[in-house]
Amino acid sequence: MEQPRIGVFVCDCGTNIAGSVDTEAVRAYAETLPDVVAAVRNRYTCADPGQQEIKRVIAAERLNRVVVASCSPRLHEPTFRNCVQEAGLNKYLFEMANIREHCSWVHVQDSEGGTRKAKDIVRAAVARARWLYPQDEEQLPVTDAALVIGGGVAGIQAALDLADAGHQVYLVEKEPSIGGIMAQLDKTYPTMDCSI
């Protein structure tokens, strides 16, 4: 494995993070971590200027791992994965440190404890980033045909929708006729009309 060259991008998120966490201290701390070659602070990392900055530093410092310390990966991991990919890095070489939902927002009154926690979160993310590997997503072909099992009202509707959209449909029904339970009903609510 090539020597990791990690860039850490600490986000202020306006005052969402910087309001209770000393982001400059976190950035300075990140710089001291093993294999970190650049640590940058941004006001809004997810915004265009923030992403441009990531791409610029990737090129300038020849980064091969990127850690963004900002919000939850459930929110912006796809954003930053795309960003590093556009800069030529495999998207699995990106790692996120959640210092907002898990830190600044839940320790609003405890700046000291929050800042210490944010440093820990970044340290763990950098430690993980050192062991990230590029991954290839497997691509599998798709057979453009569907099987619908059951020819009751649900199966009929699903088969018709798929067929109308141009897909080949196989509708398998156990009984000699489709229709299911619905065909046995006289009228159906709420329209009080015939079922067949």
Partner: protein, 659 residues
Amino acid sequence: MMDVGRHPNIKLMAYSEIQDVSGYVGNFQVTVRKKARYVVAEECTACGQCVAVCPVLHPDEFQIGLATRRAIYMPFPQAVPSAYLIDMNLCLGDNPIACGKCRQACDKKCIDFDMQDEIVQLNVGAVIVATGMDVYDPAPLDEYGYARFDNVITSMEFERLISAGGPTEGHLVRPSDLRRPKRIGFVQCVGSRTAHSSHNPGGSRGNPYCSNICCMNTVKDSLLLKDHHPDTDITVFYMDIRAFGKGFEDLFMRSRAEGVKYIRGLPGDVTCDPNTGDLTAYVENTTTGRLEAHAFDLLVLSVGVIPRLETELVRQLFTLSRTGDGFLMEAHPKLRPVDAPTKGVYIAGCAESPKDVKDSVTQASAAAARAEILLNSPVIRVEAITAVVNPDACKQCGRCAVVCPYSAIIWEKGAVAQVIRAACAGCGTCAAECTFEAITMRHFTDQQVYAQIDAILEEDPLERILCFACNWCSYAGADTAGTSRFQYPPNARLIRTMCSGRVKPDFVWYALQKGAPVVLVSGCHFADCHYISANRSTVRRVDALWEGLEKQGVRPERLQLDWCSAAEGQKWAKIMRELEVLRLAVTPDEAEFTRQSLTGKRVPTASQVWRLKEPRLATMHCMRCGKEWASVFDPAADQERMCPECRNNGVRVLLDGRQ
């Protein structure tokens, strides 16, 4: 129905069954048995000459036995395909001495007694399971007398009796004397909303769930009756009328305005006058608090919905899951309600839960749209978080294949386990189960997790609570705590895994050795597990760890387990506060003792709790607040444990007499 028969893109295979399935998302191979109809469906013009000469009579299933059909028959006049078939269990045969009349009568010569079942292979990318429902058989509810009295019928039988296509051409009569019933009673919740208990063994007297459709079906029936014969006297016995859907309340109000009487209370007994066939229902009217007797000509039991037997066969073929009530389980009850947990499989209609026509159609369209996302893409990409087996390290024990919720690992005795990448969802429970470190989870490797543990516990480990949180629920629950600004002590440090099932016992052991005062393993509630059942393995492993820690003299309470849904931000904050109290109780001496005690010891993987074969009385011990209570522990029950005091899900099962 007709549209299906003539749509150029639909190949209709009626009278056919799924026999076998292989493959995976985007590439399923399905074997279908097309049963012999003995009538060439494509040639048959449904002229009916064959039926006219068939001498065999049999109760007509479509008319629920209220009429007869022949051995050669069409299920109902509007059947699709519109073709006859021969019921070979009834047919006398083609021998001219015995019969063979239909073959002689058929001008088109489309009757073929030599027809064989046909095996057809299909290649499909997506599958929609719409296997439907069945109706509850009310015979075990003897108080209603369904099996004893002719004039007690089910709501399905009523449908046939009032249908223009039914045996009486829509002229409603009662079975005993074929006279028009003028006093009709309906009994609701027959087979529904009945708890399973010692009085209801195996659910023979009904199921706990609401069947969803019966209230409105009765409201509809009452309006049809009033429409046909306004002088009909109608009484409905109910527990609650659930008229919750669009336009439902209007119909209910209309029914009441038409004079239909709604009485809150279900009959406790029904008697029949053998001379007249008239019925009397005895009921406690819970609104007036009086015992009442009501006379009827006809009593209709509004029967509930039950899962269909065939669904179970399909479920097993596609390794789908079912909920406790027997219906199919969705990938997620709120966010992925038509996806099955198996990729490429979607669920529609009553196979998923009891529902009416409108909801079935809605769900079917949703399932079709979901399937189309898949079918419209030339290729699918699989997120690179799947399991990889190292063949050199694999000891061929097969444990991984046993715990995989997706049957994505193929293993045979004496062979190296193989992962079907397309079927693997990346939960990692196989890697946690493997004691030979032969499975690597891409992007969630052991190495990465150990690096995180090391980093977290590098400085002042006693200050830090190590938490494993699953991506879908507990990590998201912690996010929700954040967005809700619920404040809690700042000592927790999270490690995200896709599933709590990824948490290898060694991780916990290592963290405690490294000085972690408290370790939390957290995941989804049982019903929410995003990997079908992978978090059941978590429970099993934590049970083993608790026993193993105790054996080494380490307080097992220092390992905490809890479930927290994505919505439970409040609960996450509460867990964090409670864990902080536990953390403060751990002294440097205790941590040092733990380090010495655990070093070099084998990490426990099996708990005595899970060796039980039968339910057993046990002491349940809350690992958070310490509450103890007696309960029967059933290893097969698949029930989430919860402390009645503090609602923590980390509850240890202490088998009585273990000391």
